[in-house]
């Protein structure tokens, strides 16, 4: 029983930590809109295939960076830049 309670507590802690972590990493469109003028901002459209071609909504200044090729393009951006990735 004790082990079960401990496991449950651990799961809750892990879930909460993941939530806090993801909140920090995910932004909504208003937040992005507010920082559009920032010089260090790089918007990366990671959509590929139909997810990209069937969508009418594409941010004009966004660069295309396929998610599958992350290893290729991730090193080409300096660490002082703010990278915003958006997907389908």
């Amino acid at each position: 029983m004790k082990q079960l309670v401990l496991l449950f507590a651990f799961m809750i802690t892990l879930g909460a930590a993941a939530n806090v972590w993801s909140d920090d990493l995910i932004m909504d469109k208003d937040a992005l809109n507010a920082m559009l003028a920032a010089p260090d901002l790089v918007i990366l459209d990671v959509r590929t295939g139909k997810d990209w071609s069937s969508s009418e909504f594409k941010i004009q200044s966004a660069e295309r960076a396929p998610a599958a090729e992350y290893a290729d393009w991730s090193a080409s951006y300096s660490k002082d830049k703010t990278l915003v990735l958006y997907c389908a």
């Binding site: 295939g49 139909k50 997810d51 069937s54 389908a88």
Partner: protein, 413 residues
């Protein structure tokens, strides 16, 4: 008249799929005269192909697509060719266009509705109509095609009788235009999907479908060129939506949304109806069992297709670039099937009557253009590999399937 409308609803629905609209819009951006010329030539070649298949072929033999091909190629190679071409197009086109329809619904009509959810909802609708009865699916097809033609007509009338706000003048290079010209043949793929067995002459519905689509595409191409700069048409992944918005603003966008959603549904429903017919043809050739009659076979085929398409969508294939490569490969297989059908018609005709110059020429033209499409493509090796892989798999399946059926029947006994 009703029978005629049912007969042309499937080819028109397939020819007006969102994939074709993208190809049409991109092609319209190329050099003006060459665009109209290539579409006209593609329409003539399609008419010649329909004449070879449905007139010369029928004159020599009254059989179905599979039985005619089997007489020349042999039962299993013919079945493998039909299956590889039809099945690969159905599975890949459905995965592609349903996802496109999902995006159109989400971005044009209801923002909160998940695009994937809508794609599955459409697949479910098509499945239900086909399971209830084939006639329900045929009526649904007619309704969808009417919606597409009506929406397109409104956009065309508005586009033709009002003038664009800005003077649009940009021209693509002659070389790029020439390279894109063979692709015009893909615009008319679908004219051969005439299934109504009661319609004695399939040639007239096929020609009617080609002529309707030709008029529509020429007018839409001209209107698109008048309202959207050529470079923008070539580069856009949704040129039809761009043109519609330029013509009628938000209302144009809504109308094109209807065209895209109905076009995707009509394309999938039309391909499903034809695949049901192909399953019957395979049963007639005793390659697959008859199960409990034609209706059960149709239902079973549609359920299997829907499950496979659902799995492909869930696997995220639509979000990968390779879907376009595979889809192009499947279209090449379709063109090769048409080419073989022309040669078959010529062979059967010559053995009974006289040598058919039209059928041989059409077979050669389509065969040559399909090879040109593969070699001119960006991913030639991948496309060729895909075509070969699909054909070999279909051939193996066709060879193993009867043995499996026999084995199951022994076990069941």
């Amino acid at each position: 008249m009703k029978l005629f409308l049912y007969s042309i609803a499937i080819p028109i629905g397939v020819m007006l799929s969102p994939e074709t609209l993208v190809l049409l819009g991109n092609s319209a951006g190329y050099n003006g005269a060459l665009f109209f010329l290539s579409v006209a030539v593609a329409a003539v070649v399609s008419c010649m192909c329909a004449y070879s298949m449905f007139y010369l072929g029928r004159q020599a033999d009254e059989g179905n697509e599979l039985s005619l091909l089997a007489k020349v190629l042999g039962r299993f190679p013919a079945a493998a060719l039909v299956i590889s071409a039809r099945l690969s197009v159905t599975l890949l086109a459905a995965t592609s266009v349903l996802v496109t329809a999902g995006f159109a619904f989400n971005e044009i009509f209801v923002y909160w509705f998940p695009n994937f959810g809508f794609a599955f909802l459409l697949l479910g609708f098509i499945l239900v109509f086909n399971i209830i009865d084939k006639s329900w699916a045929a009526n649904f097809q007619l309704l969808l095609v009417s919606c597409i033609l009506l929406s397109f007509s409104v956009l065309l009338i508005e586009g033709l009788f009002s003038s664009p706000s800005a003077n649009i003048t940009t021209q693509a290079s002659e070389l790029t235009s020439l390279a894109a010209a063979p692709g015009a043949l893909l615009l008319f793929l679908g004219f051969d999907l005439i299934i109504n067995s009661q319609a004695k002459n399939k040639l007239i519905p096929a020609l009617a479908a080609i002529c309707t689509i030709f008029m529509l595409f020429i007018l839409w191409g001209a209107v698109s060129r008048a309202y959207v700069p050529s470079s923008s048409l070539i580069e856009s992944s949704l040129p039809h939506l761009k043109a519609a918005r330029s013509i009628m603003g938000q209302n144009g966008r809504l109308l094109m949304g209807v065209v895209v959603i109905c076009g995707a549904t009509a394309a999938v429903n039309g391909l499903f109806l034809y695949m049901g017919q192909t399953a019957s043809d395979l049963a007639e050739q005793e390659i697959i069992p008859r199960f409990k009659g034609e209706k059960t076979l149709h239902r079973l085929a549609i359920i299997l297709l829907s499950l496979t398409i659902g799995t492909l969508m869930m696997s995220g294939l639509a979000g990968e670039d390779k879907l376009t490569i595979y889809y192009r490969g499947a279209l090449v297989l379709w063109l090769l099937l048409l080419s073989f059908r022309c040669f078959t018609a010529a062979y059967l005709h010559s053995s009974r009557k006289s040598f058919s110059f039209v059928a041989v020429t059409t077979g050669c033209i389509i065969g040559f253009l399909s090879l040109l499409l593969v070699t001119a493509a960006e991913y030639t090796r991948e496309q060729l590999f895909f075509c070969l892989q699909v054909y070999i798999c279909a051939l193996l399946l066709m060879l193993i399937w009867p043995a499996m059926v026999k084995l199951f029947s022994i076990i069941n006994r």
